[in-house]
């Protein structure tokens, strides 16, 4: 039927689920680089001297969450690369909504 000029307004309600994943890195973990560019040319995986010193910290740029089948499900990018501290634990918190 034709309707008179009418405006209807309401608030819709929905539930979302916020998932928080804490990725903990102990002080002795992730403190060497696996970047292929750090491998000496012609060597069998030997790293350049520049990345083996005690002052070297690899930088984390991305966190990926994988399932048991090794399928990438979630990717989180840092705003700026984060240096992995050599002597301190660090926890990265990944949040996503479903």
């Amino acid at each position: 039927m034709p309707l008179a000029a009418t405006t209807m307004s309401f608030q819709a309600e929905s539930t979302i689920y916020q998932v928080e994943v804490r990725c903990h890195v102990n002080e002795n973990e992730f403190n060497y680089t696996t970047n292929p560019s750090a491998v000496k040319s012609g060597s069998l995986g030997q790293l350049n001297n520049s990345v083996t010193g005690s002052d070297f910290n690899p930088f984390a740029t991305t966190i990926g969450l994988y399932n048991a089948q090794n399928e990438l499900l979630v990717v989180g990018k840092f705003g700026t690369p984060y240096p992995i501290p050599r002597n301190t634990d660090v926890t990265f918190v990944v949040k996503y909504d479903t």
């Binding site: 309707l3 008179a4 405006t7 309401f10 608030q11 929905s14 916020q18 928080e20 990926g64």
Partner: protein, 463 residues
């Protein structure tokens, strides 16, 4: 770039539910199948010839699903056997309970508003539902307990809302009119009965409504835009102009009443410049006089109508050359008062206004001018009277009270004037009328709403 791995434990993951609310508004032009929809359910014969009408099936499904427990004589064995989807857990009588009423008369109707799941999510948030109707008297809200109530008065029960189902049911028959609109154009709209005078430039209805002869003063129908119209006063004196044909009601045909000192023939002080008038065919004395009159018109007043320096009285709507006829009889009706509403003519751009000149039919005026309400009873005869003149002086409304007695000479006709007034030098008035309708009775809220909706649509006015 390299990658390193670690394995997460279950304790590293936390899942938190978050309730989201998001607001949205929907205009009736978007309503329809597949979207928010307004359907009408109607009671009817339980054994019709042929198949059941959809409206009957809707009526029955709503009744059986949500209201059966409240209907006397239902076949339910017990209340507990019935899932009635309560929207409030408050006890009956606490004012927070979920009140259900369902009309069961053979001709009863309901409106059902269906909202798709995609629009409301898990449920409509309690206390958030609102209907802004074309006429504010029908504005409806939900009270958070499953009841739809009038926005202006929460004791008026309009219907029910079922939040998780996205359904709203309008059971109050008065409020079903909020969705009613007539077909547009020409004579497609059927006016409520009792119409005794109408000016409608689109269909050139100037007289003869309902078999009653009505005259409009010197009206020229179908004249081109810009045509000056001679207008005669009841005494036969012509005034030139002030009326010409215009297209100023959103481009729809209308007339403009223009009083001004600019024309050289209007010198000095202009008094009683009459726009046009209708002579209504009933006797002010005697049984044929109606106990109430309803006048509804569409008009706008440009923002520069009345210069600030003017001391003139502008009267876009003026009733009776004498001060007695109208007020005497209207307030002697059982209803007992007149309610009027004018908009603030200083608002720019020009605003549209309606005048329902009957009893207790208008809600609050939309533009902030409080209606002037007279609630006295005036008996017929030489007692205090209402003069019948409504003056709109820029932004106020005044109804003059008089004390003159009714005398026998005012006994033949009632005359309505549009655009009458007294103007000081330099004053101008430019009221545009699109349509004027007069009934010899008080219209119901539903009838008034139907007329308003018709006019809103016809003149492209957003209420």
């Amino acid at each position: 770039m390299g990658r390193s791995y670690n394995t997460l434990k279950a304790s590293d993951v936390t899942v938190t539910p978050v309730k989201l609310k998001y607001s949205a508004s929907y205009y009736s032009s978007t309503f329809g199948p597949g979207s928010i929809n307004v359907l009408t359910g109607s009671n009817g014969a339980t054994s019709p010839t042929g198949s059941y009408p959809d409206s009957f099936l809707l009526y029955r499904s709503m009744r059986n699903r949500f209201y059966m427990q409240y209907i006397s004589g239902s076949l339910l064995g017990s209340a507990s056997a019935y899932e009635w989807f309560p929207q409030s857990t408050a006890a009956t009588g606490t004012n927070d309970d979920d009140n259900r009423y369902f009309p069961t008369d053979p001709t009863s109707t309901i409106n059902v508003i269906t909202v798709p799941k995609a629009n409301f999510g898990e449920n409509i948030a309690k206390g958030s539902f609102k209907i802004k109707a074309s006429s504010s008297i029908f504005n409806t809200v939900d009270d958070g307990n499953g009841n739809l109530v009038a926005e202006s008065n929460h004791t008026i029960h309009v219907g029910n809302i079922f939040y998780p189902q996205g359904l709203a049911v309008i059971t109050n028959p008065d409020y079903q009119a909020m969705f009613t609109v007539a077909s547009t154009g020409g004579g497609g709209f059927t006016y409520p009965s009792g119409l005794i005078a109408a000016y409608d430039p689109a269909i050139n209805v100037t007289s003869g409504i309902g078999g009653v002869v009505t005259s409009w003063g010197n009206w020229v129908s179908g004249a081109p835009v810009g045509t000056n119209l001679l207008v005669s006063t009841p005494t036969g004196a012509n005034i030139l102009p002030p009326v010409y044909v215009s297209n100023l009601i959103n481009g729809k045909p209308g007339i403009k009443i223009q009083d001004s000192q600019t024309p050289t023939y209007l010198t000095g002080y202009v008094t009683q410049s009459l726009g046009f008038y209708a002579t209504l065919p009933f006797n002010t004395y005697g049984p044929s006089f109606p106990t109430a009159i309803t006048v509804i018109y569409v008009a706008n007043i440009p923002s520069n109508t009345i210069p600030a320096a003017s001391s003139g009285i502008i009267t876009p709507f003026y009733m009776a050359s004498g001060p007695k006829y109208f007020g005497t009889k209207i307030v002697s009706s059982s209803a007992g008062y007149i309610q009027t509403s004018f908009s603030d003519s200083s608002i720019s751009p020009a605003v549209y206004q309606e005048l329902d000149y009957s009893t207790n039919v208008l809600g609050s005026p939309p533009y902030g001018v409080s209606p002037y309400i007279i609630s006295q009873t005036v008996s017929y005869g030489p007692t205090p009277l209402i003069s019948g003149q409504i003056n709109n002086t820029n932004e106020s409304v005044t109804i003059n009270l008089g004390t003159s007695p009714v005398v026998g000479s005012f006994n033949s006709i009632m005359t309505f004037f549009m655009g009458a007034g007294s103007l000081s030098a330099g004053s101008t008035i430019g009221t545009n009328f699109g349509e004027i309708l007069i009934w010899s009775r008080q219209l119901s809220l539903t009838e008034i709403a139907s007329v308003k909706n018709y006019l809103y649509t016809k003149y492209s006015i957003t209420p």
